[in-house]
């Protein structure tokens, strides 16, 4: 087990001007579960493949422990990789699949057998050891792919969207299994996903990438509460944060006539520039018609049982359409579709961003 460090690591594909991964600086400490998340094409998979040695590092360096592995062959990096489509060896039994890497390391047959058996027990695969991959269900294949990685006891696990081929229900249960397994084994893990819920629930820390550039690295809750910029604010959280156009005004931000009060520090940082006012769906509340608030016409109510979400179009004082908004509401007493009402936000939880640079202005 050891730490992983990306130092200004970049990957430029031949024939392309823009780097797929641009000067990535990232430190992952020993035993940490680090999730790389971002939309497709953001460079998260490329970063992982650079760590695994499947993708060349054009410039910069990658360290595993204190060793610079930038030019080391994949097999000498002491990593194990779990692929999105599992990449099991189709003609080998489950046991042979799991023992393959050990065989390559020259472990004796008895040694291999014992280790494979231990791991199979850990993953509940004892009964399937003689089967071929095609005789297994998707979830079982996924576990074999995990087992193949675990059996090697590597320094680092690299996981490239290992859950995306499972159905929704299995994905949720496997998610927690992988996370608890990783805590138990204590092996440094780099996990790539495009699903922000997976990122938030599994990672010790989460790194958000966009267009090859690292946007923010932090523990999940801090990403949620204090996103560094507009992109992170919009990407983390489901339903997404409401990002409304506003302009600075006396005592706060003017969102289509609704004045959102801001504290002094934030106001000091917003001299005359266009703003984006970010409100999480749960920070809205329905207020009386004569209270200050944003007039909204309800277009859709989503009832999930524990929660309900109101989707509506907000209008400004001139009755022209301002934005679509989402608010979490009381699931036991939802408004009707088509109803007009007023939403006010919790000023203490509002985030304000510079509309031009995207930087967060609220402390």
């Amino acid at each position: 087990m050891s730490s992983v460090r990306f130092e200004k690591a970049s990957r430029v594909y031949p024939g392309s001007d823009t780097p797929a991964v641009d000067a990535l600086d990232l430190e992952i400490s020993d035993g940490e579960f680090m999730v790389l998340v971002g939309p497709s094409g953001c460079g998260k998979s490329t970063s992982l493949r650079m760590l695994a040695g499947l993708e060349e590092t054009t410039s910069g360096a990658i360290y595993i422990g204190d060793r610079d592995v930038s030019d080391v062959a994949p097999k000498d990096r002491d990593i194990a990789m779990v692929f999105q489509n599992y990449a099991l060896y189709p003609h080998m039994s489950v046991a042979d699949n799991m023992a393959f890497a050990l065989k390559m390391q020259g472990v004796s047959k008895d040694g291999r057998l014992a280790q494979v058996k231990d791991v199979a027990e850990l993953l509940g695969l004892q009964d399937y050891l003689d089967r071929k991959p095609k005789e297994l269900s998707g979830g079982q294949r996924q576990r074999v792919a995990m087992g193949r990685a675990i059996v090697r006891q590597p320094q680092v696990f690299c996981m490239d969207e290992p859950l995306s081929n499972l159905d929704a229900k299995l994905r949720v249960s496997t998610r927690s299994q992988i996370a608890s397994l990783q805590r138990r084994l204590g092996i440094t893990t780099v996990y790539v996903t495009h699903d922000q819920v997976e990122a938030m629930t599994m990672g010790d820390r989460v790194a958000v990438l966009k267009d090859g550039v690292l946007q923010q690295v932090d523990v999940p809750l801090s990403l949620y509460d204090k996103p560094a910029n507009l992109f992170v604010a919009g990407f983390i959280g489901s339903p997404a944060m409401n990002l409304l156009d506003g302009k600075p005004t006396e005592g706060g931000a003017d969102v289509g006539g609704y004045i959102v009060p801001l504290d002094r520090d934030t106001q000091a940082r917003t001299p005359g520039r266009a703003l984006k006012v970010g409100v999480r769906p749960e920070h809205w509340r329905i207020v009386a018609d004569d209270d200050p608030g944003l007039p909204v016409e309800v277009t859709l109510i989503e009832e999930l049982g524990a929660d309900a979400f109101l989707y509506g179009s907000a209008t400004d004082t001139e009755q022209s359409e301002l934005a679509e908004v989402v608010a979490r509401i009381d699931p036991r007493d939802p408004p009707r579709k088509g109803q007009s009402l007023r939403l006010a936000c919790d000023p203490a939880r509002v985030l304000v961003f510079d509309a031009e640079t995207g930087e967060r202005l609220t402390a």
């Binding site: 097999k75 099991l88 189709p90 890497a101």
Partner: protein, 305 residues
Amino acid sequence: MTTTTPPLAPETEPEPPAKPSGGKPRRGVSTIIVRIALLVMVLVWTIPTIGLLVTSGREPEVVSNSGWWSVLSSPLDFTQWTAQNYEEVFTARGMGNAFLNSLVVTIPATVIPILVAAFAAYAFTFMKFPGRDVFFIVLVGLLVVPLQVAFIPLLQIFGEIGIVGTFPAVWLAHAAFGMPLAVYLLRNYMEGLPGEVIESAKVDGASHFVTFWRLIIPMSTPALAAYAIFQFLWVWNDLLVALIFLGPGDNEVVTVNLSTLVGTLGSDWHLLTAAAFITMIVPMIVFLSLQRYFVRGLTAGSVKG
């Protein structure tokens, strides 16, 4: 939802019975046409073969007096059947020796190009080296070179080495002529193998050699078998290359032997058909026993299924 279905139902109800009854006969007619066409083709292709087999098993006098189809009226008249024809072509006419020669020629001439082409296809698919694409294009371009063009230079080269008329000469010639197609087919197949499996092997610490033997070869079995069948049939049935590089004589193969027999035994149908059937039997067995490998199915289960 529930309010819209009742008014729709009466309208659509009369239609469903009409639709299948309108579609079914048409589908039925086309199936029948396809079946008839298939049946005709099967008959056209198999009747001569059956005639050949029947004739080769009849007494010489019966063969010259009546057509093979006359056995249909009296198949159980055992006086007309004999194995004598086979015995004669096998021993007196050299077919036995030629049969062994054909095996000696065909098996290495199938295995050598497959082995070499599989190595080449692996390199073309999974290894990066300068000029890879150019090499591949040149190699595939060789597909258009007709083999007759190479006979004279090859005979000269083989003459200098002193292997004309020996088995290695045909092995080399067949292996070389079969190579472009083999490399092309195998590379295309390997390119379709899931790349993650090879990457996974790389991470697991497998060398190129191990990856090739333990993963690529087993996963390429359908393509290897398909090509092996083609090459085997082509080499076994080949007359031209065998005649030029081996010629008639001790090393002659079945096709050469058969063509000699056609010249010497012009009207002895009972012997010619027996010889012809011996020539055919191996390709038939090979095809029937290996045809299931044409079905690709080995990679199922390695990636999302």
